[in-house]
Amino acid sequence: MSVAQDISKQMPEDVTPEMLAQLDDICQKYRGKPGGLIPVLQQVQGVVGYLPVAVQDRISQKLGVPGHEVFGVTTFYSFFSMTPKGRHTVRVCMGTACYVRGGKEVLDRLERHLDIPVDSTTPDRRFTLEQVRCLGACGVAPVVVVDQDTHRKVMADTAVDLVERYQ
């Protein structure tokens, strides 16, 4: 951190002081250890749920690793996320087979129903809505995966009932 930037960027409201205290402890454990960044990011994501830039700034400071490196690693690995994840992840397949058999309508309807664009999370953190490429189940298209459950032949109308089953 240098001259211009001093006060950390605004921490998102959903990141609580308790989470930050845990973050500090995790960093403390790995400070000065080579290769410590990835386990720290994993553990912090476990605590906070995601890795917003303000959290990365804090990790950079506490771990003594340049901020750009924290950002570089976070954006390199797909299992790190910079946006918050919901309790349930809804993945709608947009592969060719699903798309032509109504997958697009399913996605549109879910976007409207949950009132969020794809690849984001509802403010109550109940759902994260994502689109994915072919899941290899084209025979039963369109496919929607919620958490670990695969749902076959989902139509726009049934999709809403389907997700509402997940609290």
């Binding site: 951190m1 240098s2 001259v3 211009a4 930037q5 001093d6 006060i7 960027k9 830039v53 990365q56 700034d57 950079s60 340049p66 901020g67 750009h68 490196e69 924290v70 950002f71 570089g72 954006t75 390199f76």
Partner: protein, 899 residues
């Protein structure tokens, strides 16, 4: 051939190499060409571009020579059809990776990719170019990043991380989305970037370019002139790119001392002030109406000569005083002091070292026999332990700061003692937050621990120093508990610091104005000398006591004798032999007594004893403590003469203003902090009728009846300075073409002196310990003024901004003064970051924006003096060190209120 060295073969020829060298380095050393793109000297290789491929016998694939260490018995072929084909393919892929339309590219003519395409006979782009997903980043005032031209070679990342160690940029995202990013992929201005521009310098293609240079010149149209940076005392070597009488761009001289290819934001982007339309272009004389009116040179020079003669006749020569300039060339200062001594007949000549490093000149001379930095910048990144005290090195001397950070990256230990958690403190292994003005007590405490634990270098002390017994007795009065209490730190931290200091030999001590700008400045300096002698650290490479000089030529202005008690080369006015020597050389009798120092000059004006003041290039009205008082003096002096390149707050009061040639408009020399005399070259013509300062002094001397022979900077140096001062005897312009020479340089075969007091053989014989007591600052916080104000310099500006304020971009990066306060005080005062506050002291008050920062501890307010508005010197205390008369800029009492 050295039989101990391993050998390998390159293209069938046996060659030796040093273990650890890469194939590329071995080949280049032999003049064998291997093309590269991503390789960056002094950085760790990345092997990203695969242009440097070579064949190594026995290897399954081609090998990147920049990353592969040479091995004994290796057989390398640097060019073969296979190598050629691969390189060509890689070049084609890079060309296809973005938009490489050279016609519209700033880098056209100096692009490495373009050169390679040409060399490898690529006539058209075979692959379909990608459309780029990232728009051009043009959001900051200095650097343009065009992702469509980025070949992801990583040189900018290495330049930022490995060379400058700013750690602002790296790789982000992955695969086809890869991109060079800051933390959080924020715009540069909101990142850790400090705009040193090293990334721009490193970029081999047109992805990173200088915004200010855009569209001004094609690379083949410019003339390159080597010169020395006009800002801080590091003295970086740079190329001025000149087209049609204008500087269009500045780049670093690679492989040159002291900066080794680096520059900071001021050096790289702070050049355009010379072309400002606000330059003074004709002599000005104040009329009856109180306004300045243009005059001819003859009118102005005649007027000055006549008035000086009148005043001298009526009040004596000592009624005239002069302040020389620490930014101008040596030759200017030499001629000014010669004018005062030989033509006017007074030693009343001083310069702004008085307000910064006069305690260094006096203190180190008393301790070691010479008042200059003992070691060299070349030591900084080699040192194994560095103790930085009272130095905001990453902002005030950024390239030196980069070298310290490089040392740390290579494993050196770093201790930083400073009331503020400065940029360099972030890299420290031990950070000691000492209280403002507690230095002597703190260092006495360190020495107490060292001595009581037997960690001192007794052999060195016995052999090389004197005064040890008194020191031991004195520091016994500063047990850790007492010293730590005064310094406001924990006893354990004090002990730990002392032990760490003693654990590595030699250790290097670096200090700046946090040590000197106190009423006890000389004692602070002598304390640092005590400590380093106690540890046996003076006289060795990577050791010593190293004050970083603030202005580009403040060392030189001292060297030239712009001091009331010193002729050029520190020959003393009060030494009759020295005086006779100069009397003979200059053909006149000269006064035997030392002249006045700047604060005494002001006192003299107030008391009516000083009638004429000549201010050369200084903006005293903003830089001296207590602006109100200074302006009163400037107003009341009978005759005020100024040489300057711009109208300033000071020239407002002048009776005559001489328009001067600026840096880059005249040939001469600067001496940097490490005593290196370096060439400053003329690249463009001065505007209008502006003239070199040495010429102005010479003309006035002529009108006072003295004909001076020297008619150029080179004449002055070669025929006068180096002839009259033994320290510079061996330094001649002909020897300064490249990296200059470090004094002492006693004869023309002498290589210059990188490290003084070799092995503890001090210039004055034995090194002098001085037993010292701590004294508190003159003004300490009380009920009415409960906070301590300390002052200094910020990265993006320089002094009163007469130069940097007129450089495109720098003002955008920092456009106004702030008062930096701690989070704790801010909360107590109910002040948020960016709120306006009123800061007041017993001298005055200013309205300024608050900057709430964790850099500053509770109880401290920190400000600079770059801006007239909110200038800290409305508040600072005009109290002085009794020996050097340096003002206490670092401590006075203030009150902060929400405005």
């Amino acid at each position: 051939m050295d039989t101990n060295q391993p050998t390998m073969s390159i293209n069938g020829t046996m060659v030796t190499f040093t273990p650890g060298q890469t194939i590329l380095e071995v080949a280049w050393e032999r003049g064998i060409d291997i093309p590269t793109l991503c390789y960056l000297k002094d950085a760790s290789p990345t092997g990203a571009c695969r242009i440097c491929l070579v064949e190594v016998k026995g290897a399954r694939t081609l090998v990147a020579s920049c990353a592969m260490p040479a091995g004994p018995g290796m057989e390398v072929t640097t060019d073969s059809p296979e190598v050629h084909r691969s390189r060509r393919l890689n070049i084609e892929l890079l060309l296809a990776s973005g938009n490489h339309n050279c016609l519209t590219c700033e880098k056209n003519g100096e692009c490495k990719l373009q050169d390679l395409a040409y060399a490898y006979g690529i006539k058209e782009i075979r692959f379909q170019g990608q459309t780029q997903q990232y728009p051009k980043d043009d959001s900051n005032p200095l650097i343009t990043r065009d992702f469509s031209r980025c070949i992801l070679c990583g040189r900018c990342v290495q330049a930022c991380n490995d060379l400058q160690v700013n750690r602002a940029i790296g790789y982000g995202y992955r695969g086809a989305a890869s991109k060079i990013v800051t933390t959080g992929d924020r715009p540069y201005q909101e990142s850790d970037c400090v705009f040193c521009g090293q990334c721009v310098e490193a970029c081999p293609v047109g992805a990173l370019t200088e915004k200010k240079a855009k569209g001004l010149a094609r690379s083949w149209e410019t003339k390159k002139v080597r010169t020395t940076c006009p800002y801080c005392g590091v003295g970086c070597q740079m190329w001025l790119h000149v087209k049609a009488g204008r500087i269009v761009k500045v780049t670093a001289v690679e492989d040159a001392q002291p900066n080794r290819g680096m520059l900071c934001v001021k050096g790289r982007f702070g050049y355009d002030f010379v072309h400002s339309p606000e330059r003074l272009t004709t002599p000005l004389i104040k009329g009856e109406d109180g306004q300045h009116h243009p005059a001819t040179w003859d009118q102005a020079l005649d007027l000055v000569a006549t008035r000086l003669k009148q005043i001298k006749k009526k009040h004596g020569a000592n009624a005239i005083a002069g302040v020389s300039c620490a930014r101008s060339i040596n030759e200017d200062s030499y001629n000014m002091q010669k004018l005062f001594r030989a033509a006017i007949g007074t030693n009343n000549i001083d310069h702004c070292a008085r307000v910064c490093h006069a305690p260094t000149v006096a203190g180190l001379a008393a301790s070691f026999g010479s008042g200059a930095m003992t070691n060299s910048f070349a030591d900084f990144d080699k040192a194994r332990l560095i103790f930085v005290i009272g130095s905001n090195i990453t902002e005030a001397h950024p390239v030196a700061g980069a070298l310290v950070k490089r040392a740390v990256a290579k494993g050196a230990q770093l201790i930083v003692a400073d009331p503020r958690f400065t940029g360099i403190a972030e890299s420290a292994h031990i950070y000691v937050p000492i209280k403002v003005g507690s230095d002597v007590a703190f260092i006495n405490g360190l020495m107490n621990v060292i001595i009581s634990e037997g960690l001192q270098d007794q052999a060195y002390i016995d052999r090389c120093t004197t005064g040890y017994a008194d020191l031991v007795a004195k520091v016994a009065e500063y047990p850790p508990s007492k010293a730590a209490r005064i310094a406001g730190i924990g006893v354990d931290l004090l002990r730990e610091t002392a032990r760490k200091l003693a654990s590595v030999k030699p250790a290097m001590l670096v200090y700046t104005l946090g040590i000197t700008e106190h009423t006890c400045g000389v004692n602070n300096v002598r304390s640092t000398a005590n400590l380093q002698m106690l540890l046996g650290n003076v006289g060795f490479e990577c050791g010593g006591v190293n004050p970083l000089r603030g202005q580009n030529n403040v060392q030189g202005a001292c060297d030239m004798g712009a001091l009331p008690g010193d002729y050029p080369g520190y020959q003393k006015v009060e030494n009759p032999a020295a005086r006779h020597k100069f009397e003979e050389a200059w053909g006149v009798k000269m006064p035997r007594k030392n002249g006045l120092m700047i604060p005494q000059m002001f006192e003299g004006i107030e008391q009516g004893e000083i009638k004429a003041l000549w201010v050369f290039g200084e903006n005293l009205a903003n830089t001296e403590p207590d602006i109100r008082h200074v302006e009163h003096c400037l107003k009341s002096v009978e005759f005020l003469i100024c040489n300057d390149i711009f109208p300033t707050e000071t020239t407002r009061f002048a009776d005559v203003i001489f328009p001067a040639a600026a840096w880059s408009e005249d040939d001469g020399t600067f001496a940097n902090s490490e005593r290196r005399v370096q060439r400053v070259r003329k690249a463009v013509e001065p505007p209008g009728q502006a003239k070199p300062n040495w010429w102005i002094f010479r003309e006035v001397a002529g009108r006072l009846g003295q004909e001076w022979k020297s008619k150029s900077g080179q004449d002055i140096w070669d025929k006068e300075v180096s002839e009259l001062a033994p320290l510079f005897k061996g330094i001649k312009y002909s020897r300064l073409e490249n990296d200059g020479l470090q004094w002492p340089c006693p004869d023309k075969n002498h290589p210059g002196t990188a490290c003084m007091h070799k092995e503890g053989r001090f210039t004055c014989g034995l090194g002098n310990f001085e037993a010292l007591d701590w004294t508190p600052p003159a003004e300490v916080p009380d009920k009415k003024y409960p906070l301590v104000l300390s002052t200094g310099r910020r990265l993006y500006h320089y002094h009163t901004r007469t130069q940097t304020g007129r450089c495109g971009g720098l003002n955008d990066l920092l456009g106004q003064e702030t008062a930096d306060i701690s989070l704790a005080d801010a909360a107590e005062l109910g002040v948020a970051d960016g709120d306006m506050v009123r800061v007041s002291s017993r001298r005055g008050q200013v309205m300024v924006k608050a900057r709430v920062t964790r850099q500053v501890p509770k109880g401290l307010v920190w400000m600079a003096f770059h801006f007239r508005e909110g200038n800290a010197n409305w508040l600072t205390n005009p109290v002085y060190d009794p020996i050097s008369l340096t003002a206490e800029y670092k401590a006075c009492a203030v009150r902060v209120e929400k405005a």
